[in-house]
C-alpha cells in the first residue's frame, strides 16, 4: 500500500485516540486475538492497535487469524510485518493453532459479501454457526481470557419497523427463514450460541451488532450503495441510484468503528449487546450528492425506475443510545468527512 495511504489511516486512528486513549488502558501489555482479522474490521483494528503501540506505548501483542493471511501480507505489509502483529492462517471452524495466552478475543469471522450469501448460503451459515461454536470451544481453554467480543450484525432483528427511528438492541423482530436471509439468521443463531457458552461454560462473551461502515479497506466492487457510488465516481461515470433514492442508511467511518469495538471489548459487561454504527441517517440520494461533491467535474446522478414496495421499510439505522450512555461512544467522523477521506484514500491508492 502506498505510503501516503498508510499515513492517512494512521492519522485517522490518532485523530480518534486523541484524548480517548485512556479509555482503552485495559489493553496495555495484553494479548489480543482477532479471528477473521483480515477483513475491513480486522484491518482497522490492526491499524488502531499499531497506533496505540506506536503513539501511546500500549505494548499490545496482536494476532490476526484468517484464511486469507497470505493476501493480507501481500496487500498490507506495513501491518503484516510489524513485530507486534502475528498472522495465523486458519479456518475459524478448525482453530488448531490459537494463542494460549490471549487476554482478549474479537470474533469477526464471516463473509459479509452478499454475493457469497446468495451463491453459497450453506457455506455462509457454516462459517458463522460452526465457526462460532469452534470459537466458544476454544475460549473454554483460555485461562487468561478477560473478554470475548462477538461481532454479530445489525440485521439480526429483521427489517426496521416504520414506526421507530432506530433499531434498539432489544428489538424483537426477525427475518423470515428464507435462504436469502441466511446471513442475519445465522448471525442470530450465533448470538444464541454465545449466550449458551456464557451460561454453560462461563465464557465472558458480549455482542456487538455492526451496521454499515465506510472507509479505506472496503472493496469497491461490493454491490453496496456507498461503494458503488464511489466506484462510479472514481471511474468518471454517472452515479446510479437504485430506486427513488429515499432509502435511508447510515455509515460509521472505519477508525471510529475500530475504536468502538475496542472500547466495548474492554469496558463491556459479559452478556451485553451493543449496536455499532452511526445513528445519523442519510437518504441514498443525499449520499450520492455527498459523494459527487468530492469529484471534479461533479458526476451526474441517475435514478432507475424501480418502484419501492409499499410497506417495505426504507430505513435501517441503529439506535445507539446504549453505546453512548454506557460507553461514551459517538460518531467522531461526520459522514461528509468520512466520504471525503475515503474518496481521497482511493484516489491516492490508484494514482
Amino acid at each position: 500500500m502506498k505510503l501516503e495511504c498508510q499515513e492517512r489511516t494512521r492519522h485517522d486512528c490518532l485523530r480518534i485516540l486523541d484524548g480517548r486513549d485512556k479509555a482503552l488502558d485495559p489493553l496495555r501489555q495484553s494479548e489480543l486475538v482477532v479471528i477473521g482479522g483480515t477483513g475491513f474490521v480486522g484491518t482497522w483494528i490492526a491499524e488502531m492497535v499499531a497506533a496505540l503501540n506506536d503513539g501511546y506505548q500500549f505494548g499490545i501483542k496482536l494476532s490476526l487469524i484468517s484464511r486469507s493471511t497470505d493476501q493480507f501480507a501481500n496487500r498490507l505489509p506495513h501491518l503484516a510485518n510489524r513485530p507486534d502483529v502475528s498472522l495465523i492462517k486458519s479456518d475459524v471452524r478448525q482453530l488448531g493453532q490459537f494463542p494460549a495466552n490471549a487476554d482478549w478475543v474479537i470474533h469477526a469471522a464471516a463473509n459479509p459479501d452478499v454475493r457469497t450469501h446468495a451463491s453459497n448460503p450453506l457455506d455462509t451459515a457454516s462459517v458463522i454457526v460452526d465457526g462460532t461454536m469452534s470459537v466458544m470451544r476454544t475460549a473454554e481453554r483460555l485461562s487468561r481470557l478477560q473478554k470475548l467480543l462477538y461481532l454479530s450484525s445489525g440485521l439480526v432483528c429483521g427489517a426496521q419497523p416504520v414506526t421507530v427511528n432506530g433499531v434498539a438492541e432489544n428489538a424483537q423482530g426477525a427475518h423470515a427463514p428464507d435462504a436469502c436471509f441466511i446471513y442475519p439468521n445465522a448471525k442470530r443463531f450465533a448470538e444464541t450460541l454465545c449466550s449458551a457458552a456464557r451460561a454453560q461454560s462461563r465464557i465472558p462473551v458480549l455482542v456487538a451488532r455492526p451496521f454499515s461502515f465506510v472507509g479505506p479497506y472496503q472493496s469497491l466492487d461490493t454491490p453496496w450503495a456507498q461503494t458503488t457510488f464511489l466506484s462510479d465516481a472514481l471511474r468518471g461515470h454517472p452515479i446510479r441510484v437504485l430506486g427513488d433514492g429515499q432509502v435511508v442508511r447510515s455509515y460509521l467511518y472505519g477508525s471510529d468503528a475500530a475504536y468502538w469495538f475496542l472500547r466495548i471489548l474492554t469496558a463491556g459487561q459479559s452478556g451485553d449487546v451493543v449496536n455499532v454504527g452511526s445513528p445519523v441517517g442519510v437518504t441514498l440520494q443525499d449520499l450520492a450528492i455527498e459523494v459527487a461533491k468530492n469529484f471534479e467535474p461533479s458526476p451526474e446522478i441517475l435514478f432507475n425506475t424501480a418502484p419501492r414496495s409499499a410497506g417495505r421499510s426504507a430505513q435501517l439505522l441503529p439506535d445507539t443510545t446504549h453505546a453512548q450512555n454506557e460507553y461514551g461512544l459517538s460518531v467522531f467522523t461526520p459522514l461528509a468527512e468520512a466520504i471525503k477521506l475515503t474518496a481521497q484514500w482511493h484516489r491516492m491508492q490508484s494514482h
Binding site: 452478499v114 454475493r115 450469501h117 446468495a118 451463491s119 428464507d178 435462504a179 436469502c180 469497491l220 466492487d221 454491490p223 458503488t228 466506484s231 462510479d232 471511474r235 461515470h237 446510479r240 437504485l242 430506486g243 432509502v247 432507475n304 425506475t305 424501480a306 418502484p307 419501492r308 414496495s309 417495505r312
Partner: protein, 342 residues
C-alpha cells in the same frame, strides 16, 4: 387513466429478431434500424446474435455479422438510445467477449440464465457492475419454476449487483394472471426494477406485457412487428400505443416507432411473425420459441408430426442450448411410429 410510472422499453428487434432469420441480420440492417429506433426515443436497443454475445457457433447458428461489427455499427448509430447486449455465461466469456463489448461502448448488459440457474451469472454481473455499466439479470424460461423460486433466483441476481431483473416467457406459455402473480412477487421481494419479456405463442404477448406493467414492472421488452423467435415477441409499436392509451410514460414518439416498425418489416424480415400451429403447441408445451425452426426441419426429415416433438421436448423440460436433443427425440418418435405401424 394516468400513471406516474415511467416505463423503460428495451427493444430486442435486433437480437431476438435474429432468431427469426437464422442470425443473418447484416450491418446495414443494424445501422438503419438503430437510427430509426434512436429517432423514436427507444430507451435501450439490444443488438446481437439471438442467443446473445459470443453465441455464434455451428450448433446455435453462425451469425452473419460478428459481435464486434454489430456492436460498433449500433454504437455509431445510437445517440440517445442506450446500447444493450444479451449475455449468457458460457456462450459469452468475460475476457473474450464481455470486455471487448464494453470497450465498444455497450451501456446495458443483460446477463441471462435459465430461470433456476442464476448462480452462473455472478461473475458476469459483478464484472459488468464493476465496470460502471448498467447491468440487469434475465431469467429465461420462467414458466418452469414457481413464483417463489423465481424470486429466490432473482434475489441472487440482485445480490450479485443487478440493477433490474427481467423474467422471460421464452416459450410464450404465460397468460396474464401468471405474469401478474410473478411481477407482484418480484416487486414485493426485490429492491430493484422488475421487467418482463414476452413471446406470442398463445397470442398473449401484449396482454401479458400490459399485465406486467399494471403489476409494477418498469422494464418491458418488445420487438418491431413482434420480430423474434418462434411466434415473435410483444409487438413493440402496439405495446407503445397501448401503454400510451393507459397513460404510461415511455418517452417514445408513436409516429416514429411506427416508422421504425415499417422499416423493420421492409428491411429485416423475410416474413412477419405469425402464430403458426407449431407455435401454439410450443407455447402449450412450454418449449423455447427458438426451437420452432429446427423442430419443423427435423420433424420433416423424420416424417413425424412436429407437434409431437414439441410435447415430448416439453415433457423432458428441454431448454435453449439443448438443441441436440431435438434430433434424439425425433429419432425416438420415428422409431416408435415405425414399431406402431409394424
Amino acid at each position: 387513466m394516468e400513471h406516474n410510472q415511467k416505463i423503460r422499453i428495451s427493444d430486442s428487434t435486433l437480437r431476438d429478431g435474429n432468431h427469426a432469420v437464422g442470425h443473418q441480420l447484416s450491418a446495414e440492417n443494424i445501422a438503419s434500424y438503430c437510427k430509426a429506433a434512436d429517432a423514436a426515443g427507444v430507451s435501450i436497443v439490444e443488438v446481437g446474435h439471438g442467443n446473445g454475445l459470443g453465441a455464434s457457433s455451428l450448433q446455435l447458428g453462425e451469425a452473419r455479422t460478428p459481435d464486434h461489427i454489430a456492436l460498433a455499427t449500433a454504437r455509431k448509430n445510437l445517440s440517445k438510445s442506450k446500447l444493450g447486449i444479451h449475455v449468457i455465461p458460457g456462450f459469452a466469456t468475460i475476457e473474450r467477449d464481455l470486455k471487448p463489448a464494453l470497450a465498444l461502448g455497450v451501456d446495458v448488459v443483460r446477463v441471462a440464465s435459465h430461470c433456476s440457474e442464476a448462480d452462473i451469472c455472478e461473475r458476469h454481473i459483478s464484472f459488468s457492475r464493476s465496470q460502471g455499466v448498467e447491468v440487469w439479470g434475465c431469467l429465461m424460461m420462467s414458466h418452469m419454476i414457481s413464483p417463489m423460486l423465481l424470486l429466490e433466483q432473482a434475489r441472487k441476481m440482485e445480490s450479485y449487483g443487478a440493477e433490474g431483473v427481467v423474467f422471460m416467457d421464452s416459450s410464450g406459455h404465460f397468460i396474464p394472471a401468471d405474469v401478474q402473480q410473478r411481477v407482484e412477487t418480484l416487486v414485493n421481494g426485490l429492491s430493484i426494477a422488475v421487467g418482463f419479456h414476452a413471446h406470442n405463442n398463445l397470442g398473449m404477448a401484449i396482454a401479458n406485457t400490459v399485465a406486467a406493467a399494471e403489476a409494477g414492472a418498469t422494464l418491458l421488452d418488445g420487438c418491431a412487428r413482434g420480430f423474434g423467435a418462434g411466434a415473435g415477441n410483444a409487438q413493440l409499436e402496439v405495446l407503445v400505443a397501448v401503454l400510451e392509451r393507459l397513460g404510461y410514460s415511455t418517452g417514445i414518439d408513436l409516429y416514429k416507432i411506427l416508422d421504425a416498425a415499417d422499416l423493420a418489416e421492409q428491411t429485416l424480415m423475410k416474413e412477419i411473425p405469425t402464430i403458426k400451429s407449431v407455435s401454439v403447441v410450443s407455447g402449450m408445451a412450454g418449449v423455447f420459441s427458438g426451437f420452432m425452426k429446427p423442430v419443423s426441419r427435423i420433424a420433416k426429415e423424420f416424417d413425424i408430426d412436429p407437434r409431437d416433438v414439441f410435447f415430448e421436448l416439453g415433457r423432458r423440460k428441454i431448454v435453449a442450448g439443448q438443441e441436440d436433443i431435438i434430433l434424439e427425440v425425433a429419432k425416438e418418435l420415428a422409431q416408435r411410429a415405425k414399431k406402431g405401424n409394424q
